[in-house]
């Protein structure tokens, strides 16, 4: 189902109202007559509140408040834009919030569910052409606009990834060069007993690929464990269900293929250096 968001021209600041939890009392008989409110799960932990408690909600620290009964606790959604914000979010009935803020009959926006994409387009055109003071936007357009921040973060992560791959490539080439150099006597002997340069190169390339693949597998395991640690740390730090690091089959495939390609290239380059020299020279004669 496609969604259309209808935005009012007037932007109200406070859908997520600022809460000043005042006194919590468990007067159940009194509570039944009051309106209800759903509080942020973090507020339950920080203010030791429970369902059925009565809280006073006010727009200013010393202003007249409205008493509400806590009916539920809500967890933070996995929304990256909220992750670094420490404010508590509360949800109350629209009428209660309008009364509390003195906003009369005003609202910030409507979310509309349509039957299909054609209906979405029709609704969008009709609202923008006829409704007084409304501006309709496609949810995806709003997502693109609000996602600009995350597009920048993605580009930043990609650039860091490229630098890391460059460092890994040099590291792998260095290791392969060292390994092959270490075995120059063995390779010289193989050449002297009749093995062709091609066979030697193939053997080294196979070995390099095997090392790269083994390293990639170990790296995948290490990455998976690191990913768990990163998620655990950040989810605890920000008290959010947002997943910060995700090891997907695509990422694993990319890492393995890239390692194999780098391994083949590093092995081939290292082998070329060795087979270009005469076997006796390799033996130091």
């Amino acid at each position: 189902m496609m969604r259309v968001l209808l935005l009012l021209g007037v932007q109200l600041a406070v859908l997520a109202a600022l809460v000043t939890p005042a006194s919590a009392q468990a007067d159940r008989s009194f509570a039944r007559a009051l309106s209800t409110i759903a509080l942020d799960e973090r507020l339950r932990q920080d203010a030791a509140l429970k369902v059925g408690d009565t809280i006073t909600l006010a727009t200013t620290p010393d202003g007249p408040g409205q008493q509400l009964v806590v009916s539920a606790f809500t967890k933070r959604t996995a929304d990256p834009s909220e992750v670094a914000r420490s404010e508590y979010k509360v949800r109350l009935h629209l009428g209660d919030l309008q009364a509390l803020l003195g906003y009369g009959d005003r609202v910030d926006r409507f979310a509309v569910v349509t039957r299909d994409s054609a209906a979405t387009e029709r609704t969008l055109s009709a609202v923008n052409a006829q409704a007084f003071g409304f501006r309709a936007h496609l949810s995806r357009d709003i997502a693109v606009e609000t996602g600009r921040t995350f597009a920048v973060i993605n580009r930043f992560h990609r650039a860091i990834g490229v630098i890391t791959i460059l460092a890994s490539a040099i590291f792998l080439l260095c290791i392969m060069l060292l390994r092959v150099e270490e075995r120059r006597r063995e390779i010289a002997t193989l050449r002297l007993i009749g093995l062709s340069r091609r066979t030697v190169v193939q053997a080294i390339v196979v070995e390099a690929t095997a090392i790269a693949l083994l390293g990639a597998m170990l790296g995948t395991g290490l990455g998976w464990v690191s990913s768990l640690a990163v998620n655990r740390f950040y989810q605890g730090l920000y008290r959010t269900p947002l997943v910060f690091s995700l090891v997907t089959p695509d990422v694993v495939l990319l890492a393995v293929v890239l390692s194999a390609v780098l391994g083949v290239a590093a092995g081939w380059l290292a082998a070329q250096r060795l087979v270009q020299r005469a076997p006796l020279a390799l033996l130091g004669r």
Partner: protein
């Protein structure tokens, strides 16, 4: 002599040495970038706040300046309280809102700041003069979007009437100047006009309201002490010193700091592993040579020093190249993060400080020295006769 021997050993395998240096250079570049990233934002943000000379900022209770659309309702009495404080020199109030420059049925939305032009710290005038009643100064982006220049007139509306389908609060202003706004994005459409003009919009609906207030202190006043006094006197506002604001920003930007720490640690570990591997292989290759040196009377500590010196030379050369590479990559990464929507033009993520370069180099050199110790110590303690015999047979 030891340094010469170390250099000779590295020169003997130029390709290997070049690759190791390249690997260390990339690792140290990344390390430098991460050290710069970890401290750069805080430094840059502090400089941005300090540059205007205001040490204290006030905003509606529980908010940061311009973090929400909440306002302080009793502006005049708040300003009087501030001006009465003996430590306060200048008080610069402002009120933020949105204005629309009508264009047919639609319009260009502008961020509008109501300020006291003579004391404000929100913008620097680039051209023209500060606005008086009925005038605005605008950002270059705003003037470009509106096709206006200094001296032109501009029709601005305070909102849209939903019943009549008309722009409301329409007024004509004269553009008195072009300004650079310090706390708003470089590409944002912004205008600043006298505070009284903004408070008078919509028949005075914003009368006596303020979004934030900046306070400049007398030279002998301490920000912390004044902030404590004001917090006690003004229960409806949050009073933030520059240090408080930096701490709040730090909390929001903790992600980048943690990322910098993790990636910096990984870079250091990669550099350490590279030098360790290289030193281990290099020592294994030269077991016979080391045994001969030992047989000739060279002390084990001298052997260790020579091999550690090799690791140090690799780290120093690679680290030195890495500094240059790090500055280049920092510029590239800065250009990526600079695209953050609404980022003030004076905020930088990567700020170079000599102590950052020294920290990165220091960590790398220590890692390089440590990397050489274990293999060299093992080689220096091998039994001389048995090693020489094995090498001769080989």
């Amino acid at each position: 002599m030891r340094a010469l021997l170390a250099l000779a050993s590295l020169v003997r395998h130029p390709a290997r040495t070049a690759l190791a240096v390249a690997g260390i250079a990339v690792s140290s570049a990344m390390l430098l970038d991460m050290v710069m990233l970890a401290s750069g934002m805080r430094l840059s943000f502090r400089e941005l706040l300090d540059a205007r000379g205001f040490q204290i900022r006030l905003s509606p209770k529980g908010t940061l300046p311009f973090d929400t659309e909440a306002t302080v309702g009793d502006g005049r009495s708040t300003l009087e309280t501030l001006q009465r404080h003996p430590g306060v020199l200048v008080v610069a109030p402002n009120l933020g809102t949105q204005l629309i420059a009508p264009r047919g049925d639609a319009g260009v939305t502008l961020a509008a700041l109501g300020v006291e032009p003579t004391v404000q710290g929100d913008y620097t005038l680039l051209e023209g003069r500060h606005p008086v009643r009925g005038e605005v100064v605008a950002s270059r982006a705003a003037l470009a979007a509106l096709g206006r220049a200094v001296g032109d007139t501009l029709t601005l509306a305070s909102g849209w009437d939903t019943q009549l389908r008309l722009f409301r609060g329409t007024q004509v202003y004269r553009v008195s100047g072009i300004a650079r706004f310090h706390y708003l994005g470089a590409d944002q459409h912004v205008v600043a006009l006298p505070l009284a003009d903004v408070q008078a919009l919509d028949d005075g609906a914003r009368d006596d309201r303020l979004s934030s207030i900046m306070v400049r202190l007398k030279p002998n006043a301490t920000a912390g002490d004044v902030a404590r006094d004001l917090t006690a006197q003004l229960p409806r506002v949050s009073v933030l010193t520059t240090a408080d604001a930096v701490a709040q920003a730090d909390e929001r930007l903790a992600y980048f700091r943690n990322l910098a720490f993790i990636l910096g640690s990984v870079s250091l570990a990669v550099g350490f592993l590279l030098v360790t591997t290289l030193m281990t292989v290099s020592v294994n290759e030269r077991i016979g040579e080391i045994a001969v040196q030992r047989a000739l009377g060279v002390q084990a500590t001298r052997i260790v020093q020579q091999i550690v010196a090799e690791g140090l030379v690799l780290s120093l050369v690679g680290g030195g190249l890495g500094l240059g590479l790090g500055l280049l990559t920092a510029r590239y990464l800065e250009s990526i993060l600079g695209d953050f929507p609404g980022l003030p033009p004076d905020i930088s993520f990567f700020v170079f400080q000599p102590q950052d370069a020294l920290s990165a180099m220091g960590m790398l050199v220590v890692a390089g020295a440590l990397a050489g110790i274990l293999p060299s110590w093992r080689a220096a303690r091998l039994p001389i006769a048995a090693t020489l015999r094995e090498e001769a047979v080989a």
